[in-house]
């Protein structure tokens, strides 16, 4: 499989604190990578650097072989919108938009007419077990349902990579398992790679590989078979 995203020698410092210390990482198509580590180890900084949200102090990030860390803020923003999808712990859905419009929003931002965008968004509801919830607003959904809507929104633009930052952090064990199973399987079906930061070993076990980060360095790199 081809490498879709790579970080080479990534370093990042916040004052005297080293968040990333020469990290090398590679993500291939349909690959799912869990990033684990204790609080303050640098795992979120690594995710944000790979997603072009934070510029590294040293090293480079390559998306399909092209360096992205030199791009302007506007181009990075466009890149994140078109080529990446994001799932966060909570709060990424607009509370005033119904679920289908939340999912359709990235398509509308790309200029797709509203009707078509909503129609396309609705296609994601059945595979993610959200049938009948199209008109519900985020406040009327359970935590697990809201995260599945967020997954739909991340995938609707058919991204190269989905970044998930503690996507199950606010969910119970059973719902976590269900959400992460859906996230990994649907991302794979869509041909998108997945980079997921998590504290939960059970959640990480659903990914193809696990990176352990400690003090800004990769301390362990293991490969799992999906459970």
């Amino acid at each position: 499989m081809n490498t879709v995203l790579a970080g080479r020698g990534l370093t990042k410092k916040y004052g005297s604190t080293t968040a990333l210390d020469g990290v090398d990482v590679e993500v291939r198509e349909r690959d799912s990578l869990a990033v684990m580590g204790p609080s303050g180890s640098g795992k979120s900084t690594l995710l944000h650097t790979l997603a072009g949200i934070i510029r590294p102090d040293g090293g480079t990030v390559l998306l399909r072989g092209q360096a992205i860390d030199g791009l302007s803020e506007n181009r990075l923003s466009t890149l994140r919108r078109k080529r990446f999808g994001f799932v966060f712990q909570f709060g990424q859905l607009l509370p005033e938009l119904p679920a289908e419009e939340n999912v359709a929003l990235p398509l509308m931002l790309e200029g797709m007419p509203r009707r078509q965008a909503v129609r396309q968004a609705r296609r994601w509801f059945a595979p993610l077990g959200l049938d009948g919830l199209e008109h519900r607003r985020p406040g009327q959904l359970s935590g697990g349902q809201a995260q599945r809507v967020a997954i739909a929104r991340a995938l609707v633009v058919e991204p190269d990579v989905v970044f998930a930052d503690e996507p199950t952090g606010a969910l119970d064990q059973a719902t976590s398992t269900e959400v992460v199973r859906l996230l990994t399987s649907v991302a794979r079906e869509q041909g998108a790679a997945l980079v997921m930061v998590t504290h939960d070993a059970d959640v990480a076990a659903h990914c193809d590989r696990i990176l352990q980060v400690r003090d800004g360095r990769i301390s362990h790199h293991s490969q799992y078979t999906v459970a």
Binding site: I53, I54, L79, R81, F86, L94, E96, L97, L105, R114
Partner: protein, 668 residues
């Protein structure tokens, strides 16, 4: 055990960091602005009443055991009124007390003048003003006790009881004499009729106060909402730590009250400090004596308390929603729908106001009452319109920014209404006042001077004499004798003469002065005298409209800016995450602006039209016509207000940029 609420509030407020301090300073600033505006308008309302009372002694009140004759006359110089009080002691009667502002009752031939008139007498040639009064070597001075304003032009002239100026004919028998000429035998100066030039001041100023109350309330409410996100986060943390909802509300109330009181006191102190400067702002008869604008300690305290209470109630009501239903508020599980009852109430009130104003004949108090009632109903109606507007716009929105704006409107119509309500209500004020320039037309008497005589024979004699007097004064004029039934002339159906003068304002003043010695009971007068009644009301409306418009737009703009900033802070997490996922900042910003523009265009346009309509009704009460030139002022004011509003919203753009630039946004 001592309650920990106050000490904990103080500790948390001190440690709330730069952002906490910023929102506290903004809230205090809003409270200061609100208190300042209210006190200034209240001062104008109360002060204009107090100073109108100071003019009451000039209109004579008949007395049973009279000791003197008093005749009020009004003459004009440079289009400004000069109030002349002629006094004559009746023979063999006991002494009459001196009029207010004078140390003694004026003797025959003595002339007392106000400082402003003394200055004018010194400045203008005698042939334009001084020769209208008896010749004296020195003028006495009327003190502040007898004057409404330092700028007032007033003269008190001592006459003999047989002087025509105090004769029975000097009373208000002419068509234009009402409130400008009067004569009675008096025993003192306890008159209760305020002068023509001051009696509408208070009611017009109070109308301005009534129109400003709502925008100030909105500003205070916006100030109370500032830092809501920070407080919600604090609530969550403190609830987890075991604090009771009552303690949380107590802490919020204490903090908001402290910030509100500090701000309101600062605004009130600013008002007190600026009193001498405020006194220089002319209203009605001119600038003020500083003491007239002091509202008194009870009002001072009441405004500070009211503004503080408004901010506290706003902050607590915001928090109460969180305390009673934290999950519902945090996730906004239910859209804050508005019910159709709001429309019903509004329609009912509008119909009632319409029916009450239909017949005319309303007192100012009733008009203010109806206005406040309408305001209240509109306050209920606004969110309903915003809700419907949001739903309609949401149905047809094509672009993400419009869709976001529309959904925001129907999701929280009350919040959206709060943002625009200030300007919408200011639009009502603008519409109301801009066309309230009651039309008056006396232009066909321009360049004319009239002298009223007792009968036709006297008129013919006076005409010949007038020609001579004018010629001697170097005034070119055509003098015509007027008949008793000529109601369309400047003499208004009284016998007399009219001089048509060539050469403009100075020549008119010279003609009035030249004709003063004609010996008739009443002074010569001009078009200014004939239109004074209407003009006094029009001028007051114009002055109050300008002040109300300026202040309400200022207040509305401030509250829009504050609400916009509070909105960005409240929604910082979702904005931050959207931006992080690649949503362009301009989409978020456009959505924010459209969220304001949509209701603003519809509602401000609507209220401006309603304001015009309400003003039309009021004008009917006054029995006057609409001044269409006011429409231009209205358009300019509305455009200016809208621009100021956008500028105020634009001010929170850097804040939006800053909160969305943070890659890991937090609750505060």
């Amino acid at each position: 055990m001592r309650s920990p609420v106050l000490s904990l509030t103080w500790h948390l407020a001190r440690s709330s960091g730069r952002r906490g301090l910023q929102s506290q300073l903004l809230a205090a600033g809003a409270a200061a602005a609100g208190a300042f505006v209210l006190l200034v308008m209240l001062a104008a309302g109360l002060g204009s009443g107090a100073r109108a009372d100071r003019t009451a002694w000039r209109t004579p009140e008949p007395a049973r055991h009279a000791t003197a004759v008093q005749a009020l006359a009004t003459t004009y110089v440079r289009h400004e009124p000069v109030t002349v009080v002629n006094l004559a002691r009746l023979p063999d009667r006991r002494a009459t007390p001196p009029p207010p502002g004078l140390s003694a009752f004026p003797k025959q031939g003595e002339v007392y003048v106000s400082p402003a008139l003394a200055e004018l007498l010194h400045k203008l040639p005698a042939g334009q003003l001084a020769d209208r009064f008896p010749k004296v070597t020195t003028y006495g001075t009327i003190g502040a006790a007898g004057l409404a304003s330092p700028d007032e032009l007033v003269a008190v002239v001592g006459r003999s009881p047989g002087d025509p100026a105090v004769s029975r004919a000097a009373g208000d028998s002419g068509m234009y004499d009402m409130y400008q000429a009067a004569r009675a035998e008096v025993s003192g100066f306890q008159g209760s009729k305020q002068s023509l030039f001051t009696y509408t001041d208070q009611s017009t100023a109070l109308l301005g106060v009534a129109l400003l109350v709502m925008p100030v309330a909105v500003l205070a409410a916006a100030a109370g909402r500032l830092g809501a996100a920070r407080r919600e986060a604090r609530l969550a943390a403190l609830r987890l730590a075991g604090a009771t909802p009552r303690q949380i509300i107590g802490m919020t109330a204490a903090e908001a009250a402290a910030v509100g009181a500090a701000g309101a006191l600062a605004g009130a102190a600013l008002y007190a400090a600026l009193l001498p400067a405020l006194a220089e702002i002319p209203y009605g008869v001119g600038s003020w004596y500083t003491g007239q604008l002091w509202v008194g300690l009870p009002w001072f305290a009441a405004v500070v308390l009211a503004v503080t209470a408004l901010i506290t109630v706003s902050a607590v009501s915001m928090l109460r929603q969180v305390a009673t239903s934290p999950l519902g508020v945090a996730q906004q599980a239910d859209p804050r729908r508005t019910r159709v009852i709001r429309l019903v109430v509004f329609v009912a009130v509008a119909l009632y106001v319409f029916s009450q104003s239909q017949g005319g004949g309303l007192s100012t108090r009733q008009v203010v009452g109806l206005l406040l009632l309408f305001y209240g109903a509109f306050w209920l109606f606004g969110p309903w319109v915003v809700d419907r507007l949001g739903r309609i716009a949401g149905r047809f929105a094509r672009r993400p920014a419009t869709l976001l704006a529309a959904r925001r409107l129907s999701d929280d119509p009350r919040g959206a209404w709060r943002t625009v309500s200030g300007l919408v209500l200011a639009g009502f004020a603008a519409g109301f006042f801009a066309v309230s320039m009651v039309g008056t037309d006396g232009s066909h008497f321009r360049d004319q001077v009239a002298v009223v005589t007792s009968n036709a024979a006297e008129a013919r004699h006076a005409t010949a004499e007038a020609r001579t007097l004018l010629r001697e004064a170097g005034v070119t004029a055509t003098v015509t004798t007027m008949k008793e039934d000529d109601y369309d002339s400047l003499t208004g159906g009284s016998p007399g003469l009219v001089a048509r003068v060539l050469g403009g304002s100075e020549r008119i003043d010279a003609a009035v002065t030249a004709l003063a010695p004609l010996g008739t009971s009443r002074m010569p007068y001009t078009q200014d005298y004939a239109t004074a009644g209407d003009r006094s009301a029009v001028d007051r409306f114009a002055e109050v409209s300008t002040a109300t418009l300026a202040l309400s737009f200022l207040v509305a703009t401030a509250s829009a800016g504050l609400t916009a900033a509070a909105g960005v802070l409240d929604r910082r997490r979702v904005y931050g995450l959207l931006r992080l996922a690649g949503t362009p900042l301009k989409v978020l910003d456009r959505a924010r602006v459209r969220e304001t523009v949509l209701p603003l265009v519809v509602l401000a346009g609507g209220t401006t039209a309603i304001g015009v309509c309400a003003s039309y009704r009021l004008n009917k009460v006054f029995g006057a016509s609409l001044d269409l030139t006011g429409a231009l002022q209205l358009a300019a004011c509305t455009a200016l207000g809208a621009l100021a509003m956008f500028a105020a919203i634009g001010c929170s753009r850097p804040l939006l940029r800053r909160v969305t630039a943070d890659p890991a946004p937090t609750a505060d």
